[in-house]
Amino acid sequence: MTEVKETPLKKVMIIVAKANIEDVYAGLIMANGAVMEGIEAKLFFTFFGLDAITKKQMNKLHTATVGNPGMRMPNGWAFPTLLGAIPGVEAGVSAMMKKQMDELDVPPVDEFLDMITAGGGEIYACKMAADMFKLTKDDLCEHVKAIITVGDLYAMSGGDGTQIIFT
């Protein structure tokens, strides 16, 4: 019989490239969960994911009510795309989602970043995306350690038991 040797996970590099509530929170929950388990975590925000660490946008994230097949009415019916297109509907649905998460003790984005960094997690922004959106370090929240290149990201990803996760 072959012996299966498990190597414990020691470090996760989590990449967030989208600004939807669910995409951002998937990354935040995984990073926070990692540091809570004693696993090193580094979050790398790129493209629209930069909204999550941009002071002006970070606490105003939305979920998509148009073109989102997982979206349902409270009674379980499919959410009509045309309804999702009405002004204010997306904001209302997003507010409801945040309220439901708050009931589960899932904090707003800025507080979540506080929690992750308090546990030793690190937050980085992608240089190319920041240049593209004309964002500087001053536009980003204080949790951001640095604006780095993809090469820097890979350089940080060394070591046994490291995984790169793209949400």
Binding site: I29, G33, M36, E37, G38, D105, D114, M115, A118, G119
Partner: protein, 103 residues
């Protein structure tokens, strides 16, 4: 289930070291459990453990966010008290169940 002896008392623990019978808990048991992980419990640690025990008794689900807002210790301080497992280790030493929350 495994058995362990803490403070001269044989107790039943889960595979991950959590007490099976909450009534087995005492401050001395907590201290010896922590010592196994290389942590010496201070008064501040015990304040956190007491808080967790109260919360669990009241039926609340526990998260580090809640502990951070308890006024006992902030989240950074909680990580310093229980390195590598702020909620997991503190729950273990508090003699309560393994945390079932993702935050």
């Amino acid at each position: 289930m495994a058995e362990k002896t803490f403070a001269g008392k044989t107790v039943e623990v889960t595979a991950e070291g959590y007490l099976v019978n909450k009534s087995d808990w005492s401050k001395e048991v907590a201290a010896e459990m922590a010592k196994e992980d290389g942590i010496d419990l201070t008064d501040k640690h015990y304040e956190v453990l007491d808080y967790l025990r109260e919360q669990e008794a009241s039926g609340a689900s526990l998260t580090i966010r809640k502990v951070g807002k308890s006024g006992i210790v902030d989240i950074k301080g909680l990580y310093e008290l229980f390195p590598g497992g702020p909620l997991k280790l503190s729950s273990k030493y508090a003699g309560i169940s393994k945390p079932a929350s993702c935050v």
